[in-house]
Amino acid sequence: MLKLDKLTRRFGDNLAVNNANLTIPDGQMVGIIGRSGAGKSTLLRLLNRLIDPSEGQILFGDHDIARLKGKELRAWRSDCAMIFQQFNLVGRLDVVTNVLTGRLHDMTAWRTVAQVFTPRERAFAIQALDRLGMAHTALQRAETLSGGQQQRVAIARALAQEPKILLADEPIASLDPMNAKVVMDALRDINRQDGITVICNLHTLDTARSYCDRIIGMQDGRVVFDGTPDQLTNSMAREIYGAEADEAFNEAATSTSIPTSEPAPARVPA
């Protein structure tokens, strides 16, 4: 169980995350919604300490994640995998090595320096890739893949970490609808089958509604909504999104709902 207690992060005078109190039980699939700059990304990055909190606690079991340092912090990051909007793969490394970096935490120093991976680690990485349907690209450079393929490799890297929690920061914002659906299906599958908690920042409302058990709405750094998709009324959603409401309600470009009568729309340039 992950518990955020009065979690706050300031950037100068700006409160990016303001006094967030949340309890997330194991195995939940959580969607965080809100307009750009609402603090979704900061909240997620606080959880794996890519950003350090200004105040408050992050409790996982008995450990206060907010206080971790050095080796313990790296161990936590290894338990708390993350996928990014821009995938953050190492473009010039091949796909399987990218996935194998998910194992770095458990490797001895000389093996990381010499890039020596055991056959077992390689098999594990290939199985993770195969689960995402990407095993055939294992020896290709990551940068030669399309955006959707890269995001699937990034998910395989996260799986290779054998995480307890999977954070996803706008995982489909750079993808076309078809790939967005593949990625969201994969995240749901990981949540359902492996029981891994998935916490996912989403920009579009319908995706959050159709995939998540629980939706958290953020506005100006504050948690303003916390409930099931059914509890999120249209007027509530409009308030969360404010000026961006129309875009969020009806943005075909990043939505996962594919019209069935006509072919999938062509990829929309970013």
């Binding site: 794996n48 890519l50 995998a81 190492v90 970096t101 770095l104 990381t112």
Partner: protein, 313 residues
């Protein structure tokens, strides 16, 4: 070119508001140009004064140049070999002596030169490898975006500055004094300079590397070393390689000079023939040095281009 039709009446006729956009732009442009002109004039003035001073101090006057140029040719006259067409390719005679006027006579010490040139190249290779290794290691703490903390950054930057700030020849003198005459002194001197110069270039390449892969490795729980090795190194390797090869070319030239102070290589021989004989032997050595440098440059350039070509598919 016809006038673009604009809202608010005929062009230029009246002072209508829409035209003010053009007028305002022109006025701002004129102001910008005027303010730039002042700075340009100031810079030009400063440059002229500096140029005048340096000409005066170095006594770079046309008449001195006119006097000096013939002497350059005069010197070349003294180091020209006395070759004779009819004996050019004649071998050694029965007593084993070379015939004056033949190439063999001119290049009596050919194999000594070749041996020294080989030593020079080996010195350049060793120094380049050593220097590149140090530059590689220090380029990560010396990159502003990657340094683990301010102190490490400050110290690695200053260390690299020191390494490239001291001239090679001075370092060579110190090492010749400390460890004796020979190639080791030259190798160390060039390696230190290489570490400093390449370290700065490598660090700048690192500063241009994308931080996304680095963030990716941070998020899997990677340590600082792992972030560098997996997140940064794959991105910067092609540039590192290219810079290291360029530096190797520079080091071949440097190691052919460094022998002047006794630090090994062909330089010692060049110094000897210039100081003791100043005859055709000087030209003999010079030709070989220039040939060697050119060939190394060509090979190195070819390797770099092949490498870059392969990188871009």
């Amino acid at each position: 070119m016809t006038d673009i039709p604009m809202r608010g009446g005929s062009a230029g006729a009246s002072g209508d508001a829409p035209f003010d956009a053009v007028a305002t732009f022109e006025r701002h442009r004129a102001e910008l140009k005027a303010s730039k002109r002042v700075w340009n004039l100031l810079a030009l003035g400063a440059f002229t004064i500096a140029l005048g001073l340096s000409i005066w101090i170095s006594q770079f006057y046309p008449e001195r140049l006119a006097e000096g140029v013939p002497r350059i040719f005069e010197y070349f006259g003294t180091i020209m070999p006395d070759l004779q067409w009819d004996r050019l390719f004649e071998g050694r005679d029965a007593q084993g002596n070379a015939v004056p006027g033949s190439i063999i006579f001119w290049y009596t010490d050919f194999w000594t030169y070749v041996e020294l040139l080989w030593e020079t190249i080996l010195m350049a290779i060793t120094a380049s490898l050593l220097g590149t290794a140090v530059a590689f290691v220090l380029s990560f703490p010396a990159a502003a975006n990657l340094a683990p903390n301010g102190w490490v950054y400050w110290f690695s930057r200053r260390f690299l500055e020191f390494c490239r700030g001291v001239p090679e020849i001075l370092l060579a003198l110190v090492f010749v004094f400390a460890i004796g005459i020979g190639p080791l002194a030259g190798v160390l001197a060039i390696a230190i300079h290489t570490a400093g110069a390449l370290g700065k270039l490598f660090a700048e390449v690192n500063e241009n590397a994308s931080d996304r892969p680095v963030e990716g490795i941070t998020a899997v729980g990677g340590s600082w070393t792992e972030k560098m090795l997996y997140g940064v190194v794959p991105q910067v390797m092609p540039n590192f390689f290219s810079y290291a090869m360029l530096r190797f070319e520079i080091n071949v030239r440097a190691s052919s000079i460094i022998g002047f102070v006794g630090a090994g290589g062909i330089g010692a021989e060049l110094n000897r023939v210039i100081s003791f004989y100043s005859d055709d032997r000087v030209l003999a050595v010079l030709i070989l040095v220039i040939l060697m440098v050119t060939i190394i440059d060509l090979i190195s350039e070819d390797i770099r281009h092949r490498f870059i070509g392969k990188e871009n598919f």
